[in-house]
Amino acid sequence: MKTAKRLVSNPLSLMGLVLVLLFVAIGAAAPWLAPPWQPAEPYRIPRHGFRAEPRPPNWGAWRTFPPEWRQRPLGTSEGQYDIYYGIVWGTRTAFRAGLVITGFAVVIGLFIGSLAGYFGGWLDEGLMRVTEIFMAFPFLIAAIALTAALGRGITNIMVALIAFSWPGYARLIRGDILALRERDYVLAARALGAPHWRIIFRHILPNAIFPTLVVASMDIGSMVLSFSALSFLGLGAEVGYADWGQMISFAREWMLGTVGGNPLQYWYVVVFPGAAILFFVLGWNLIGDAFRDIVDPRLRRVRG
């Protein structure tokens, strides 16, 4: 409760909270904001024809709310993909990516980290060497390599990002468990004959899990960033899937305008999807920042 109050009282974290809630609302209301053209495949962005050249936003569409995507409220991207529709449904893709990647990474990290920290010895030694191998490479490059190996696609990007992000959580939880392992209440549980899994899940984890969860919440934003970066590089879903990173890659050919034309004439192709990613990530980062200040009182003093 106290944490929630702090989040609301600081203007920066309040802004983060508002941003994230706004995206939650957009994602939840997607079928109402942009009714799918093919209900079986809502993530497929509808096209307004097949011309390559993007078409500008039709501001008149905003006189009604929600605007009708058929009237091109935010214009169309390369190949006439509707930008408004893509941003609305791309919100769901972003949430799915951020939550699934961090969720799986935390669960795997908790499992491996608990094993290593609780049992110690050669198991600990072996598992920590494995995490070192995974962490020995620049995160994004390793994830690109693995995605290339698995084949493109959203699921494979997520698998690759999970594969290289769990070791961080494993090491974190291991350290916290090491500090708790010899506490009296753990020894007492062991003396009572409690099985190992019970000691880990009922006694140790509830006391050790909090820092890991805080770090995980701070990571959601940067996970979505990495996810969109891989999509941008062309390793994501098939063309036309509602995914912000891919929508920005559509913009690459149009950034400089046409020969002799206004160089900024296609600004909407990059600005709208770019703003969606920026605000989404900013929202999570602001919340994460505030979380860290609340959890780590040493930093609060520094803020001044």
Binding site: L12, R129, V130, E132, I133, F134, A136, F137, P138, F139, L140, I141, A142, I144, A145, L146, T147, A148, A149, L150, G151, G221, L225, S228, A229, F232, L233, G234, L235, G245, I248, A251, R252, M255, L256, G257, P263, L264, W267, V270, V271, G274, I277, L278, V281, L282, N285, L286, D289, L299, R301, V302, R303, G304
Partner: protein
């Protein structure tokens, strides 16, 4: 300290074998038919039917069991053979050597101003706490941390090239690359155009190379810069509250001396701990930055290779980065011990 360095260096091959085995195992999810696509140089020559593909599969040993293929590959690595990169149309090791100077040049142009300006701004922001310079710095560092590199790069390109025409993408203008690729007019020494141009006394080429470097260098530095400013600022704020800083002021030292001689030195110690993260940030950033600006370096080649399923290139470059990062982290650790006498490496 010497024993520590040796031990760390000894860990490198173990790490590399581990990760190469991991990625190599993942590659086996593809069928030999899919993997062989990376070796076909001229699809038109394959019209005879599938026999030719079978030959290629045999030639590269793609139908062998995993461990045989892996051992074959590792054996090659020790002989300096990382396979043929179809994306670069040359052997992978040669491709790394070919693209390295471009990326190194870009990284240096990004890293040096990054460190100088970043630390200066962080210190200034802490000294002028809650004044305008502090507010501006904090705003930049918070947004910088959330700004996707690829969006930042595209927007910067749109404004400074599309609208203003100041800084073009690529590495050199056409006229300049004609000069540079002509051995009669231009002697290539390092492969870094901004250095070679000075060695050849060609200021016009130097200016052209720098003009092409400005935007990618800023884009590459931006993210790490946000982190650096943030950490320097909070560390400096904490140091300024220490009692020895008060003492220095009470002695009657000038404010300049207090800040730069007494406070800054200690404040920079925690900053060194993010050195490793900044190395990672630069290595990662090169891939996206070079792709956006059509800057033909290692990152550009790697992203292209990943899209083309050019497996030898992807594996080779990833290995190469592993070595860079292990060495980079080692250097950071040693630097840390050098600037903070309380740290003893064991």
């Amino acid at each position: 300290m010497f024993a520590y360095i040796v031990r760390r260096l000894a860990l490198i091959p173990i790490l590399l074998v581990g990760v190469s085995a991991f990625i190599f195992g993942m590659l086996q999810l593809l069928s030999p038919w899919e993997r062989v696509a990376a070796y076909v140089s001229d699809p038109a020559a394959l019209r005879e039917g599938r026999d030719e593909l079978e030959l290629l599969i045999k030639k590269y040993g793609l139908d062998q069991p995993i461990h045989v293929q892996y051992l074959e590959w590792i054996k090659g690595v020790f002989q300096g053979n990382l396979g043929w990169s179809e994306a670069a149309r040359m052997p992978t090791l040669q491709a790394i050597a070919y693209y390295l100077p471009a990326s190194l040049e870009l990284t240096l142009w990004a890293a040096v101003p990054l460190l100088v300006i970043g630390i200066w701004l962080g210190v200034m922001s802490a000294v002028h706490h809650n004044r305008w310079i502090d507010h501006v710095t904090r705003f930049i560092s918070i947004t910088g941390w959330s700004f996707p590199t690829f969006v930042f790069g595209l927007v910067v390109l749109m404004i400074f090239y599309g609208a203003l025409g100041w800084f073009p993408p690529g590495r050199l203008s056409t006229w300049a690359s004609l000069v540079v690729n002509d051995p009669g007019q231009f002697r290539a020494v390092t492969g870094m155009y901004s250095v070679d141009a000075l060695l050849n006394g060609r200021l016009d080429i130097w200016a052209d190379a720098v003009r092409h470097l400005v935007l990618p260098a800023i884009t590459l530095a931006y993210l790490s810069w946000a982190l650096l400013v943030r950490v320097t600022r909070s560390s400096m704020l904490e140091t300024l509250r220490q009692e020895y800083v008060q003492t220095a002021r009470a002695k009657g030292l000038s404010e300049n001396k207090v800040i730069h001689r007494h406070a800054k030195r200690n404040a920079l110690i925690p900053v060194a701990t993010i050195g490793g993260m900044m190395v990672i940030g630069l290595l990662n950033g090169v891939v996206i930055t070079e792709t956006i600006f059509n800057y033909k370096g290692l990152g550009y080649w790697f992203a292209y290779a990943a899209r083309q399923l050019d497996i030898p290139a992807v594996l080779g470059f990833t290995m190469f980065n592993g070595v860079l990062m292990v060495v980079g982290n080692l250097v950071v650790d040693i630097l840390y011990a050098v600037i903070d006498p309380r740290v003893r490496l064991e």
